[in-house]
């Protein structure tokens, strides 16, 4: 996360770090006790060699071996279910259910086909690149305003197809998502109720002025997610 601030653990208890060979590789969201929603591009294919991957949750510091270590849960991935063609989504079936604790909680999915009004401030979380803005290796959070697809398309000057399967947020210089935040969640809040509305996908550049970050529009794919839960569980 470029800009933003460190997170307190309970504030982002659904966030997981997808580890590849024991180093942080991508973000992800615990959407059920045994399912993680992430970016398909975090994997080389829909049938990757899963031996090298694991999922960490319930922690803030990537390299902390102290007190936090006992709270951390590490699970293997048993299966990758790739999303519909062009979605860039993947659901990861975990080898077991995550234990729900104060620091590990699932995040609700949004209503199918819903939309977040433009200018709503939503929140992105991750352990990715900070571009010198500090707190490397710690989960960070940044506020990003929702940008309509129409304006987002104009910002990107048509170079990226912003279809109804995508949504945009951010666009301020030095505030946004970056490498290794991909797969993580854009979360919007109403009262105390949070939902995951976006999954950060690999994009072009980080936190550039007038270049809002692009996310997979989770409400657009919510039916698919529920259908996977229904038949794969």
């Amino acid at each position: 996360i470029v800009g933003g601030a460190p997170v307190k653990i309970k504030e982002a208890s659904w966030m997981v770090s997808i580890q590849k060979g024991n180093s942080h590789w991508c973000g992800g969201s615990l959407v059920r006790e045994d399912w993680v929603l992430t970016d398909k591009q975090c994997f080389s294919s829909c049938v990757p060699d899963l031996a090298e991957y694991s999922v960490w949750m319930g922690f803030l510091h990537l390299n902390d071996t102290g007190r936090e270590e006992s709270e951390k849960q590490v699970l293997k991935i048993s299966h990758v279910v790739c999303g519909p063609e062009g979605s860039n989504l993947a659901l990861l079936k975990l080898s077991g259910a995550a234990l729900q604790t104060e620091n590990v909680r699932t995040i609700p999915l949004p209503v199918t086909g819903c939309a977040i009004p433009e200018h709503t401030n939503c929140t992105m979380y991750g352990w990715g690149e900070t571009k010198g803005t500090g707190h490397d290796g710690i989960m960070k959070v940044v506020q990003l305003p929702i940008v309509s697809n129409e304006r987002c398309n104009a910002y990107h000057r048509g170079s990226l197809p912003i279809t109804e399967s995508r949504l945009c947020a951010g666009g301020k210089r030095d505030e946004g998502v970056c490498e290794k935040d991909y797969g993580g969640s854009l979360v919007c809040e109403e009262g105390d109720f949070k939902v995951v509305v976006g999954v950060s996908v690999h994009g072009r550049g980080c936190a550039r002025s007038n270049r809002p970050a692009i996310f997979v529009n989770v409400p657009y794919y919510a039916e698919w997610i529920h259908k996977v839960f229904k038949y794969y569980s």
Partner: protein, 458 residues
């Protein structure tokens, strides 16, 4: 204690070949001796009035015929005669060197820049001390390139150009005259030393190392003499060595820049013959079990890695035939099924590739006969899964056999159930006929549905 080196290792054998001399000045001598002793005498020139360059061994009479000539000598003809085996000294017949090439006895007589060599017996234009009379063992014949002083740049000669005294002949290393592709299974070049410089054992001998790779047993593997070969799909050409302590070693052979044979026979939709050139993306067995990745050792340990089989295109978990099996196959992710043949890939000559199909809208009206998921898993019969489906009666009517359908109006297109427990359902291998027209939503059409109607449930 090292056993005595078998002199047959110095020779190139040609089965059923007899050399017939038309020039009467060429000399021969005969005696009843074993092949090995015959070779030893020829190598040492013992009891011979000429320099032995080759010998015949008459298998019928068990008689040895030493020759002052070889198949390259003018005035000599090759004839087929199955009672004879011809053994020619490699040093005379090959136009490549091992190491510095001190034993080179070939007939090249031109330097690397094309200058004609000066005869060793001549002092014109360059006076020198490497006279044949002084260095009898160095074979300083005619004006042939030689290396009497072990130059690191290989055989050389004095040149006939008065301004250039001597120059290398740039005779290639035996490891480079023929390059290899893939694992070198088709390499038939003249390299006969291992990568650490050990001399190879002849394939037709079983000393110092016993083995079963006899040339007559594997006639198509090119197991001639003691050349580096790869008859058993190892990483590279190799050979047994003459060092009793080292059974075998790999050889260092030059790798070809491009594999000229690629792509000619390659198929992707079907396979020909045994499917060794199949390069398609089917990654599931006929029973719907996913294939294990070739670069993974889980759940099955194996040696068919992309590194070991460089030209077999062992990408992802696609069905392949890296080992000359009957059909393309793969390891499976089922711990109880190690490998399976991919008989779900059609043969090119019996089944034409399926025509391209597409669906309109969300594919609700699709009534085609496609019955595979996008990853190639066969669809299960709908009637076996109706209890899993919430389809209405009219929707059920469209659910024929195991064809891809869209009874729940899934906006991402037709799908099906499978009998594979790791893929209960998936979308089908079919694309929309037209790309989605609602690429950019209009300004006046934002969704009015709130995202926060959920209630937390236990």
């Amino acid at each position: 204690k090292h056993p005595r080196r078998n002199s047959l290792h110095d020779y190139r054998k040609s089965d059923g070949i007899h050399l017939f001399k038309t020039d009467s000045s060429l000399l021969t001598k005969s005696k009843s001796l074993s092949e090995v002793k015959c070779a030893r005498r020829c190598s040492r020139n013992k009891g011979l009035s000429f320099i032995c360059r080759a010998f015949h061994f008459d298998q019928k009479t068990r008689k040895c015929h030493w020759l002052s000539f070889d198949s390259n000598t003018p005035g000599v003809k090759k004839e087929q005669d199955f009672s004879f085996d011809l053994y020619e000294k490699k040093d005379y017949t090959r136009e490549c060197i091992i190491g510095e090439g001190s034993s080179y006895k070939g007939i090249k007589s031109v330097t690397k820049t094309g200058l004609k060599c000066q005869a060793w017996a001549s002092s014109v234009p360059h006076d020198h001390n490497f006279l044949p009379s002084r260095f009898k063992r160095k074979d300083l014949k005619e004006n042939y390139c030689r290396n009497p002083n072990n130059e690191t740049s290989g055989p050389w000669c004095y040149t006939t150009d008065p301004d250039i005294r001597h120059q290398s002949c740039e005779i290639p290393q035996c490891s480079e005259v023929e390059c290899m592709t893939c694992n070198g299974e088709n390499y038939r070049g003249p390299m006969d030393h291992t990568e650490t410089g050990k001399e190879c054992q002849r394939w037709d001998l079983t000393r110092p190392h016993k083995h079963t790779f006899h040339p007559k047993r594997y006639p198509d593997k090119g197991l001639n003499d003691n050349y580096c070969r790869n008859p058993d799909n190892r990483l590279r050409p190799w050979c047994f060595t003459l060092d009793p302590q080292t059974p075998w070693e790999y050889c260092n052979i030059k790798v070809c820049d491009v594999n000229a044979k690629t792509d000619i026979d390659t198929t992707t939709k079907c396979f020909r013959g045994q499917g060794e050139q199949y390069r398609g993306t089917v990654a599931v067995t006929p029973d719907g079990v996913q294939c294990q990745r070739w670069d993974s050792q889980f759940p099955h340990n194996h040696s068919y890695t992309p590194e070991n089989y460089k030209c077999q295109d062992l990408r992802e978990n696609y069905c392949r035939n890296p080992d000359g099996a009957e059909l393309p196959w793969c390891f499976t992710v089922d711990t109880k099924v190690r490998t399976a043949f991919c008989t779900n890939i059609p043969r090119c000559d019996t089944e034409p590739p399926a025509t391209e199909e597409c669906f309109e809208g969300n594919g609700e009206e699709y009534r085609g006969h496609l019955s595979k998921t996008r990853s190639g898993v066969p669809c299960a019969m709908w009637e076996d899964n109706l209890d899993r489906s919430s389809a209405t009666n009219s929707e059920i009517a469209s659910l024929e056999n195991n064809f891809c359908r869209n009874p729940d109006k899934d906006k991402h297109g037709p799908w099906c159930y499978t009998n594979n427990s790791s893929v209960p359902w998936d979308y089908c291998m079919i694309k929309p006929c037209k790309p989605s027209s609602n690429v950019i939503p209009t300004k006046s059409d934002p969704s009015q549905i709130s995202c926060f109607r959920h209630k937390r449930i236990r």
